[in-house]
């Protein structure tokens, strides 16, 4: 057990190339910018104060923000994202982007329902608040400070999916898969739009899946297995890409069948796991001659 722990620790704090931290920071900033840009945040202002509910990082603020203030936070966040892309004070800009996004999503979700749509992005990105980012001239540097943030991000991803799977077993047991649970999830999801929820894209297909118990049970089993084994998929470099594909299929089917928008999850997984599926000396968008697989600069 001690040897295993020691190996995990060695891998976590092994040196890594500067370009990997920069790549993942840029990709996460792109995911956040996409979410920031594609939502009308001023709608938060229409919620009466009496209907605000739930504990969030924004619970200290009890007022109702004006539409102009909400749009201003959105614009500041997007400006910070541009600075991250342009590599102008990227660390400071990323902190600004994270604060803007986290504040707006916390306010958006303070209506009584725990909103998970953006929570994975916020948690994974939080690792990079403490990460050093290399200057343009330091992308080739191999340091411990550039090695641990991408691995910490992978660990947060693995933890989130594993806990999500474990909670299903804790609260429902094997019946989550082997009962007609998924059939009723689908049938309830298909009617959610009647009370203001999202309308599924593939209604007929969802009805067909709900009709055949073995198909819906297989879907449930596949989803639970994927969540519980996330740490294994993400621990091995060669299976990370497969995990990205698998979670995209899982969240894509949720969107198709019950209309829930969880696109930020596979995008966040891809932002971290795709660069981390490459050989350590191979940059995502730069030439490969920067460092050796062992982490030492190539001559």
């Amino acid at each position: 057990m001690r040897r295993l722990w020691s190996r995990i620790d060695e891998r976590l704090v092994a040196p890594g190339p500067g370009f990997r931290v920069a790549e993942i920071q840029i990709l996460l900033a792109a995911v956040i910018a996409l979410r920031l840009a594609t939502r009308d945040w001023s709608l938060i202002a229409e919620r009466p104060a009496a209907l605000r509910d739930g504990l969030t990082v924004m619970s200290w603020y009890t007022g109702t923000p004006t539409p102009a203030a909400l749009v201003a936070v959105q614009v500041v966040g997007l400006a910070c994202a541009l600075l991250v892309f342009a590599r102008v004070r990227p660390h400071l800009a990323f902190i600004g982007l994270w604060i803007a996004f986290t504040s707006l999503t916390a306010l958006w979700g303070s209506s009584g329902k725990v909103m998970h749509n953006d929570v994975l992005t916020v948690l994974v990105a939080s690792v990079f608040l403490f990460a050093s980012t290399p200057h343009a001239s330091g992308w080739r540097d191999v340091r411990v400070r550039y090695g641990w943030p991408p691995r910490a991000a992978l660990a947060v991803l693995a933890m989130a999916y594993f806990v999500s799977g474990a909670q299903k077993l804790v609260h429902s047991g094997p019946g989550w898969v082997f009962s007609d649970n998924m059939t009723w999830v689908l049938r309830l999801g298909l009617s959610a739009h009647l009370s203001g929820g999202a309308r599924p894209v593939a209604e007929d297909l969802a009805h067909a899946v709900a009709q055949y118990g073995w198909v819906s049970a297989s879907l449930a089993g596949g989803a639970l297995l994927l969540e519980l084994t996330a740490p294994l998929w993400l621990a091995v470099r060669r299976t990370r890409l497969l995990f990205v594909v698998s979670v995209t299929l899982m969240h894509g089917s949720i969107w198709l069948f019950i209309g829930l928008d969880y696109w930020a999850w596979p995008l966040t997984v891809a932002a971290v796991a795709v660069p981390m599926s490459l050989a350590p000396d191979r940059a995502l968008w730069r030439r490969a001659e920067v460092v050796s697989a062992a982490g030492a600069p190539r001559q």
Binding site: P48, A50, V57, V114, R145, V163, K168, S195
Partner: protein, 149 residues
């Protein structure tokens, strides 16, 4: 920078890495085990309860002074406001003053003039699924609480 200084620097960076990583994972674990919801810290309970054929839903109904009933459709066009229907269940446990505030807020976002409403009642509705029609039908209705706005 000498080799010794470089090694000390790398050790310091490793300590920061360990502290950040294990702290974040430990907080996530505590929140999950404690079933806490302190957004963005969450217990990740996504569809964790088993769904069955026995379904109920809550509905707010405005009883107008002219004797007509109107179910409140809470601002279906605003995704921020629409999820406030999750708070219908909190209504019976609140003080009369808070109940009145909440009901007035729901009337407002539903576009209903409070002056035309005698009272607002909260109904629990039992539902059954019709396999042929592929829809849910209301089969029983019980009033849980009634509030005068």
């Amino acid at each position: 920078m000498s080799d010794q200084e470089q090694s000390a620097e790398q050790k310091r960076e490793a300590r920061v890495g360990r502290a950040v990583t294990w702290s974040v994972l430990a907080v996530m674990a505590v929140v999950a085990v404690g079933q806490l919801e302190l957004w963005p810290l969450t217990a990740f309970r996504l569809f964790s309860e088993t769904r069955t054929a026995d379904q109920t839903r809550l509905e707010l109904v405005a009883e107008h002074r002219d004797g007509t009933d109107q179910p409140l459709l809470v601002s279906e066009t605003n995704p921020v406001v629409v999820t406030t229907d999750r708070q219908f269940g909190d209504l019976p446990g609140e003080s009369e003053e808070v109940q009145r505030e909440m009901v007035l807020a729901w009337l407002s976002v539903s576009g209903v003039d409070p002056a035309t409403v005698a009272s607002v009642r909260l109904d629990r509705i039992a539902r059954e699924y019709d396999e042929d029609a592929r829809t849910w039908a209301d089969v029983d209705r019980t009033t849980i609480v009634s509030v005068d706005p």
